[in-house]
Symmetry: C2
Subunit: 215 residues, 2 copies
């Protein structure tokens, strides 16, 4: 349902990609692939795998600007910021499709399959906007403690459970929240001591009852 080629046959798929002059690439795990795609007005669709868009600032801080799983998009990402500080890194073997946004906008064919393609793209973009808004909501918290709680609560709500599994390492979580890893640990310890959370490896249990933190 959130697939770029949902409801589109393989033949139609090939035709669409050809018409849009799209290119498919396969990358191995742990490769930096920026140079291949550093262009404006492109949409990259991650068909399978796992990518991170990383920013390294002049202090050597790594920031996860974006975290991309199956059928997420990127690329428009870079258009307004350009800059050599950014890189796209594969965390797993990944397959991506690069499409020129202008081609999508300009293309004039009215076949049903193309309509379907555009709708799928709309869906994916809508999901992207949601994910970004969640990230913004989390980053808007002023303290590390509130960033953590905000993150846990959102993940918990998504899972419809008070148990959640970190999708990556604590080191990466600190980068995602844009806080110092060791300070984050200090705060995790506080939350544990206060009984608000329990941590067992990547499994986190949230113990927020009808406290006003929760909603």
């Amino acid at each position: 349902m959130n697939d770029l080629f949902y409801n589109i046959s393989d033949d139609e798929k090939e035709k669409i990609l050809r018409n849009l002059e799209a290119n498919t690439f396969n990358f191995q795990k742990n490769k930096t692939i920026l140079s291949s795609v550093k262009q404006e007005n492109i949409i990259g669709v991650l068909v399978s795998g796992y990518l991170q868009i990383i920013k390294n600032d002049y202090n050597g801080n790594k920031v996860i600007i974006d975290d991309l799983y199956d059928n997420s998009i990127f690329g428009t990402t870079m258009s307004s910021i350009s800059s050599s500080e950014y890189s796209i890194v594969t965390k797993e073997d990944s397959k991506i499709i690069i499409i020129y946004f202008d081609e999508i906008i300009k293309a004039n064919f009215v076949e049903q399959s193309y309509m379907q393609f555009i709708k799928n793209l709309l869906n994916i973009m809508s999901n992207k906007i949601n994910a970004n808004n969640v990230r913004i909501e989390i980053l808007s918290n002023k303290t590390t403690r509130n960033k953590l709680l905000s993150y846990f609560k959102i993940m918990s709500k998504k899972n419809k459970s008070n148990i959640l599994y970190l999708p990556y390492t604590f080191t990466d979580l600190a980068d995602y929240l844009s806080v110092d890893r060791t300070s984050m640990h200090r705060e995790l310890k506080n939350l544990k001591e206060e009984g608000l959370i329990e941590i067992k490896n990547k499994r986190i249990t949230l113990n927020l009852y009808d406290d006003n933190d929760f909603e």
Copy 2:
């Protein structure tokens, strides 16, 4: 070009809106309009005016989650987070169109005008993703100083000038950057004293040369 009805006649426009069961609303300045639109799976398109999506947390902190000018979209915003803490506030008289996202996805008509509408929507969503990514980049900075510099540099690059004009008050800027207003002022003062910026009302001049802050 970034208009939802770019290249669509008024007649066609009415037809599309009717088919999508879209509703148009006009709101006066400084109204909270959340209740009217608090639904999942809707897209709100701000046709004209100025909106802010605000989050008030339990500490009474106001956070500007989103800042919407002409032809920006919202609504998908709320879907994953629901919550009564959010509100949409008009900062100017505003005209918005509410469309059910599912109707767009399901609609099956292949008229040229509908294709154009979808492409316009894609364009608007793409812009939204870019704006969100910029916001995330700014919020990813760990210090107030770097948030400010990051914001100024991005605005300056957008303007293609080292002079930029704040689109809102300093109070709102602090909310946008998610920092305490008075601490932000302290930092603005530092930046002025170091000669990195000049401030005259809402006009800010950036004096970053080939320093590694700039790129």
